[in-house]
Symmetry: C2
Subunit: 330 residues, 2 copies
């Protein structure tokens, strides 16, 4: 093991991680040539963000960090990391660190194409003891992307503070998804962290979302629009609130974007869930053609289930990124 | 280490756990005399529920298990385990397994007084690597109580299934708290487990709960009553749905109980949050004077912050249990 620490920019310090000697080595080397790593022989850089005491002195709001990440990659793509042990390639499944290795290879194959990764903590918790530690190691990879922890948390006062500690201080997430049903005080421990983002569930992409989210209020709004308006008018004083709006509901997306012109929107529901990509991208981007992170998970992760899975994931990510960019330039 | 496996009843297998030799030994011995443990020298029994393939062949619904737990202890008390490392006694804080030891001592001191324990997973996740494993060891204690995992989860299809695996199969929770904002399909992987319970957030006890939960719908109902009616009419086909209704809102509690006469209600907000106990108990019990679990957390956990903390916790739990029983018999 050798380590080559580099300083890439003023906010982040990278240290390198050395390859294991096994059959998948070529995958890493293939995609990792970069100005800092011209030989392409070093695996993914470890991420050591300098989040800490200086965090709240930074002038960089989360919404500007989203814009920066999108512009740096010219990509609205977000890859959701939902590693289902039943679906990862058989040759990895027997490995004692199978989920980490699967995520590592997906990240190595796609990180230059994406603005963000979005690991869903449920799939790591389901591993039992050590699962969250696997997630922490995964989230230490790829310093050049945003990391959105998909946790859909929502709890009161001191408990919300504990979740914020877990997400922002232990896992060092750049952003988290939150469930707004408990109201503003449940969001406060997250929203008070100005450089970190909170994507609030607004109109989700699943069939059951109509049960509550589309209930019509006395003033004629559907419930999800009340969430959008609270986000816009009351909860965004630190410019770090975003919304989750599913691609399967383009009309909802149009209404939310009209009410919240500048809020970042996280858009699930394209790919395996079947929402139309071009329609959703046009409805979801802000006036600058960004402000939107288009999440795909299964269509990339499980593009192939043999030794070619990382190549197939890259091909699918590339195809999706380009389709998104074609739609936003149309 | 010696192990003495016993068979206590047909559904559960206990194995014993041996005391560590340290200054707190007397605490365990004091409260653990029982028919199975007449000397009181054995610490808390380990819980090895026989949940597994036979689970769905059982005729025991979750609502009947709540009634059974309440009757067995003649108690509606639920103690919430929210172990804040900043608030646990100083003499435990330096211990490498401080949170486990704190929870163990609270459980040992109170388990004969309570129908349920309710650990909040956030406080364990906040410990970082190994935190969930600490929770698993805590939840393996006290086989005679229900274990409600306070996680307030809510996610879609395959992710909800992963959370159900983590809660019910890894942590072996008897019940979980869920956030209903994503609708029926997000609840299904939990509700399909007939012997396990799901307490849905309905009207919570925090100030911000009014932001969404009290929004008035076009038909005149507040949003939380829509949750109560969906729970009663659509989601309870396995008799395993309960609701979370805060003690700080007695009027809401009366309305929910009227709409849902048989659903178990989990009632936070007495104790440190200040809701009136007798009023809430009378509003919340079902026609049989049960169907209600009254949660207290901080008032019991932090009744004292020195070596007497377990004694003080027991005294506070006893006082609360008796006050609840006085109210339900009045």
């Amino acid at each position: 093991m050798t380590h080559h620490p580099h300083t890439i920019d003023s906010r982040r310090v990278y240290a390198t991680m050395v390859l294991s000697d096994d059959e998948d080595e070529h995958i890493y080397a293939k995609y990792l040539r970069s100005p800092c790593n011209p030989s392409g022989t070093i695996a993914l850089a470890m991420r050591q963000r300098q989040y800490g005491q200086e965090e709240n002195n930074s002038m960089l709001t989360f919404s500007s960090r989203v814009a920066e990440a999108i512009d740096a990659k010219n990509s609205l793509l977000c890859v959701g990391l939902d590693p289902d042990i039943q679906r990862i390639p058989a040759h990895l499944r027997a490995h004692p660190d199978a989920v980490y290795r699967f995520c590592h290879d997906i990240i190595a194959a796609t990180h230059d194409l994406v603005a963000a990764f979005k690991p869903n903590i449920a799939f790591f918790e389901a591993l039992g003891a050590g699962g969250v530690e696997v997630l922490a190691r995964v989230m230490a990879l790829s310093p050049s992307t945003l990391w959105i922890l998909d946790a859909k948390r929502g709890d009161i006062g001191n408990t919300a503070a504990a979740y914020a500690t877990a997400a922002f201080d232990y896992l060092k997430a750049d952003a988290i998804t939150l469930n707004p049903y408990l109201g503003g005080d449940s969001l406060e421990p997250f929203l008070s962290r100005a450089e970190r983002g909170s994507f609030l569930l607004c109109r989700t992409s699943n069939p059951g979302s109509t049960d509550l989210q589309e209930l019509v209020l006395a003033d004629g709004r559907p419930l999800y629009m009340a969430v959008a308006q609270l986000a816009q008018q009351q909860w965004n004083s630190n410019s770090n609130v975003g919304l989750v709006v599913g691609a399967t509901q383009p009309a909802a997306l149009i209404d939310v974007r009209a009410t919240c012109p500048d809020l970042p929107i996280l858009l699930p529901g394209v790919g395996a869930q079947g929402g139309d990509l071009a329609t959703a991208v046009n409805a979801g981007v802000d006036r600058h053609g960004r402000g939107l992170l288009v999440n795909v998970s299964r269509s990339v992760l499980y593009a192939a289930n043999d030794h070619s899975f990382a190549d197939a994931a890259r091909a699918e990510a590339l195809r999706t990124r380009d389709a998104i960019n074609a739609a936003r330039q149309a």
